[in-house]
Amino acid sequence: MLVQQCGFELMNMQGIYLDHASSMPVEPRVLEYAKIYLTKNFSNPSSLYSSGLEANRALEESRAKIAQFINAENEKTIVFTGSATESNNLAIRGTALRNIGKGKEVFASAIEHISVLNPMKELHKNGFEFNIIPVDSNGIVDLKKLQTLLTNKTNVTSIMYANNEIGTIEPIKEISKIVHEKGGYLHVDATAAAGRVPIDVQKEQIDLLTLSSNDLYGPKGAGVLYIKPGTKIQSVMPGGGQERGLRSGTENVFAIAGMGEAAKIAQKGMKKESARLTKIRDKLIKEITKINESYLTGHPSRRLPHHASFRFSHIEGESILLNMDMYNIQVATGSACSHKTLEPSHVLLAIGLKHEEAHGSMVMTLGRSNNMEQVPIVVKAVKDTVDRLRKLSPLIKKG
């Protein structure tokens, strides 16, 4: 509608969705598998009659699939929650409070998701000492700083597997070595990374790991916290005692069953799909960075296969997003204007961008619906968008 109103050439009727980091469609095979738990079998998995037991079996099957997905020691390590945010809260508050005897120092990298940073800040208000680990200009955690800042009073440290805004993959194995030398717990938010790169919690020595269902093409409303056997943790949601007492509340059987199936499908196709997306990503990066004063944000090689993020000088990200939407292409931005607090993305500031640079960001995250044929359409739309907005910008002094 708007496209025609505004006289824009409609290049793709169906649209090109490039914001998979924000929301993903449910994989049809997942929906087919799990929909029975919304309709025919709606029983509470705690009920003892046969349909309840069957619902419970669906939970346990999903647990086994997730355990396999991240090579967990056993399925008991998997705790289902309602979202990645909830998993992060349980991981951080649950371990910090339970291990208060060890110390009151908690750490997170400067580029963690707000659902990690805000629980940490909350702990700080309640007497914990919260410190931030800086990252370099590519978004890689400063390992030397990590080594010097952590002490034997360090309780829990949270570092994400890969960042959702700049795509940078962190050296988790090295990080876990440093964290464990000081005897603390390492929590890893793998929301952005899972399903794109293989994760092995045993090999990488991860104590707590967050996963999100929707980021695996599963339904929204389910998340996972992996808890390594022997990790001391307490509930932050007391109630009926579901999920080994760690997360009370009737389980969302549909979303949980779907998440397990989504993880299974993702694991099976990951190698091929990630290789396919990497090619599209690299082509996008190559073409878009040809635009004058456009820059890749995040690490050039240690980055998620589906992730291409940029910044453009002299223009603002919300305008980019709105303008791209006129071409029926959906992207994200870390600009202040898209943020309720009107502050630019903390991630972009953490990698050393100035405020005015962070305002001009655009993030593209690819998925199964994307293909190489879309690249020239997207590139043309980006070029036209940047061109148009720069013509409006007083920061360019000509004409």
């Binding site: 505004c6 824009f8 603002e316 305008s319 709105l322 202040a336 898209s338 009107l342 100035k354 405020h355």
Partner: protein, 130 residues
């Protein structure tokens, strides 16, 4: 990732964003106003050409979000052809109303557009005194 969740721009905002009126600069303007700061994410410049205290021509350049661009465009439309004493009274609410409303957190952007116009008119008046 930080997302736009409460934007809900009106059709009129989007129409002005996509087809902004009076974009550009005026060489040797009778009045010039500049407000905002790229650090904050909004910067606006307004140029006016005035004859017998009537705004004959007006142009703008804006760095900023969708509503910053739309409000700039709207303020130039509202001011064009008006007597400067009338145009200086245009408020952020006038601009927002003409655009069929703005999300609450965007009101500062329309504030800027009206401010830039006022600055331009003040500049014109100062020059006239000299």
């Amino acid at each position: 990732m930080i997302k736009i969740v409460e934007i809900g721009y009106s059709k009129k905002v989007m129409e002005h964003f996509m087809n902004p009126r009076n974009v550009g600069v005026i060489k040797n303007p009778d009045g010039y106003g500049k407000v905002g700061n790229p650090v904050c994410g909004d910067l606006m410049e307004i140029f006016i050409k005035v004859k017998d205290d009537i705004i004959k021509d007006i142009k703008f350049k804006t760095f900023g979000c969708g509503s910053a661009i739309a409000t700039s465009s709207m303020v130039t439309e509202l001011a064009k052809g008006k007597h400067v004493d009338e145009a200086i009274k245009i408020t952020r609410n006038d601009v927002a109303e003409e655009l069929d409303g703005l999300p609450p957190q965007k009101m500062h952007c329309s504030n800027l557009a009206a401010d830039a116009l006022q600055e331009a008119i003040k500049d014109y008046k100062n020059k006239k005194k000299k």
